[in-house]
């Protein structure tokens, strides 16, 4: 079992990474400040963590920041918010492994899709987006119905 101290160190480390990547995305700006304030409130008020993620998602799209940095900012954001949840409940180490594996899986999936796009004929953006949205909807329908 990992102690409370290590859990807190872990969560703090993730917070530092998250702030660092947010800074890389937006520099010192109102966007960074908003995300930072909500993130700092997360250990006291778990809902604030999701507000931070919502704000981050919006700002990334608004500023057209994607790619490796954008994706990692979101990954660290999710990891930070969820690790606060786990730390507050004294979760065992396995839960942290699940969190890291689950979020970092997005990187190979992203690069796989990227590689695939080099070899398949290019499709109209709207068509790809529509298919994606439909798939997303179907996935949530299955999950929520379960």
């Amino acid at each position: 079992m990992i102690g409370k101290f290590f859990r807190n160190v872990f969560t703090t480390g993730l917070f530092v990474l998250f702030v660092l990547f947010t800074y890389l995305d937006f520099g010192i700006s109102p966007e960074t400040m908003i995300v930072l304030i909500f993130s700092l409130l997360t250990p006291l008020w778990e809902l604030a963590g999701y507000f931070a993620l919502m704000a981050l998602g919006f700002f990334l799209v608004y500023r057209s920041i994607g790619g490796f940095v954008g994706l990692f900012t979101l990954i660290f954001g999710i990891q930070y918010v969820e690790s606060v949840y786990l730390t507050l409940r004294n979760a065992p180490p396995e839960h942290y492994y699940v969190l890291f594996a689950g979020t970092l899986l997005a990187i190979p999936v992203y690069y796989f899709a990227y590689l695939l796009s080099l070899y398949v004929p290019s499709l109209v953006n709207t068509a790809v987006a529509s298919v994606f949205i439909v798939l997303l909807y179907v996935l949530f329908y299955i999950i929520v119905r379960r």
């Binding site: 809902l47 998602g57 786990l86 409940r89 699940v98 999950i143």
Partner: protein, 431 residues
């Protein structure tokens, strides 16, 4: 460790099966809703701001959700049981309840909530467990017992995945019953135990002794014990003769409890007084019976001993004020059918209804000696304003007049429930 319950029987745990083939009722949690809102911000704004190429930013959300969804389904069985040291407790007593949980598979989040039946809870009756296979988890809390029967029906059990996105909630049947018995006061006997109860042979009580006195000689009848045969009289008369005894201290006492709904404010005091006087009768070696005048009256025959006492206490523990407007009829019926002649009646009633007053008159009319223990319902209320104080005095005067009118029917002990019953009895007996 094996745990044993009442009478040495092992506790039987309730088992929840969480198998793959069993249809699981899994529902999304509020946390998942927040997570999905955070996720949907990205596709929504990608479309609104025509930056569709950034939709892939939802990937970390999706991968984490998929891992949580696919790999964390409950499988195996969960055993839950509750341990309470006894099943009878004095009202007001704090009772420790232990809840044990055991699973045969790894559980990361198992929320167990014990459903407490309307009792004051000290501590928390719920806990979240994280258990390894075959590990046993325990949590404890206390309840403050009220008079009556309290039924613990079961548990609400909720299984969640590590990140708390989905939950499977179940109600698990597990029955435990505890009985809150009334508190006993120290009292003095408010009636004379000297009576003229005629009996054959020794009384089945540990306190007979000097109370038995010779009464008469009569012919021996089948069923009489051999030791009561008077051999001298038998030789003289040529017939088998037996001694008949008279008990001077063994009057039968019958407790009549008025369980009308009107008595609700003082009903617990009424029951405690009954139980206390019953214990007093038991210690005196007096035989006693009980009429619990609920809507369906409950009559416990006159008898002796501890077993009989506990039987009466059980009935008193479960007594509730009821819609009973027939107590006078019930008492009259009892007098005509089952009430022993020359019995001492202890009538417990605040005498609020006309029916309850008529019951007292009926008992007196049939020649019974009656002691009325009447908890004063006005003594329960504390007037807060001057108007309330004046109103209370008027009500109190009305009650005094009513008690004075009934004084001819028996000894009435008007009991201010803020004072000990012993004091109230002593005040009346002194007069």
């Amino acid at each position: 460790m094996r745990i044993f319950g009442f009478g040495g029987f092992q506790y039987q745990p309730s088992i929840v099966l969480l198998e793959k083939h069993v249809e699981q009722e899994v529902s999304p949690t509020s946390k998942l809703a927040l997570y999905l809102v955070a996720l949907w911000v990205i596709p929504t704004f990608s479309f609104l701001l025509l930056r569709w190429n950034l939709v892939y930013l939802v990937l970390p959300y999706l991968t984490l959700l998929s891992v949580s969804y696919l790999f964390f389904k409950p499988k195996g069985k969960v055993e839950i049981w509750r341990v309470v040291s006894h099943n009878r407790f004095l009202e007001g007593q704090e009772v420790e309840v232990e809840v044990h949980v055991k699973t045969d598979f790894r559980v990361d989040y198992l929320h167990v909530h014990d459903l407490v039946p309307g009792l004051e809870v000290i501590g928390s009756p719920e806990k979240v467990f994280s258990l390894r296979p075959c590990e046993e988890g325990v949590f404890k809390y206390k309840v403050k017992v009220k008079r009556g029967i309290h039924k613990f029906e079961g548990f609400n059990v909720s299984y969640r995945d590590p990140l708390g996105f989905f939950s499977s909630d179940r109600f698990v049947d597990h029955f435990t019953e505890i009985v809150g018995v009334p508190v006993l006061y120290e009292v003095q006997t408010p009636y004379s135990t000297k009576g003229t109860k005629i009996t054959i042979g020794p009384l089945p009580s540990p306190l007979t002794g000097g109370g038995i006195e010779f009464h008469a000689i009569r012919e021996y009848q089948p069923g009489d014990p051999l030791k009561v045969i008077n051999w001298k009289a038998t030789a003289r008369t040529g017939k088998i003769m037996a001694n008949e005894f008279e008990s001077e201290r063994k009057v039968d006492v019958v407790f009549v409890v008025d369980a009308s709904r009107m008595n609700e404010p003082v009903f617990d005091h009424l029951i405690r007084a009954t139980a206390s006087l019953m214990l007093n009768a038991l210690n005196d070696g007096t035989s006693f019976g009980l009429l619990l005048a609920e809507r369906v009256p409950l009559w416990v025959r006159v008898d002796y001993g501890k077993r009989h006492f506990f039987k009466c206490i059980d009935f008193l523990s479960t007594a509730r004020p009821d819609n009973n407007n027939f107590i006078a009829y019930q008492v009259e019926h009892l007098v005509k059918t089952s009430l022993p002649p020359r019995a001492q009646i202890v009538y417990l009633s605040p005498l609020l209804t006309e029916e309850s007053r008529n019951a007292l008159k009926t008992l007196a009319r049939y020649g019974y000696s009656v002691v009325v223990i009447s908890p004063n319902p006005n003594s329960v209320y504390e007037p807060k304003t001057e108007e309330e104080r004046i109103a209370m005095e008027l009500v109190q005067l009305k009650r005094k007049v009513m008690l004075r009118n009934l004084a001819g029917y028996g000894i009435i002990i008007d009991w201010d429930v803020k004072k000990p019953l012993k004091v109230a009895i002593a005040e009346v007996l002194r007069k």
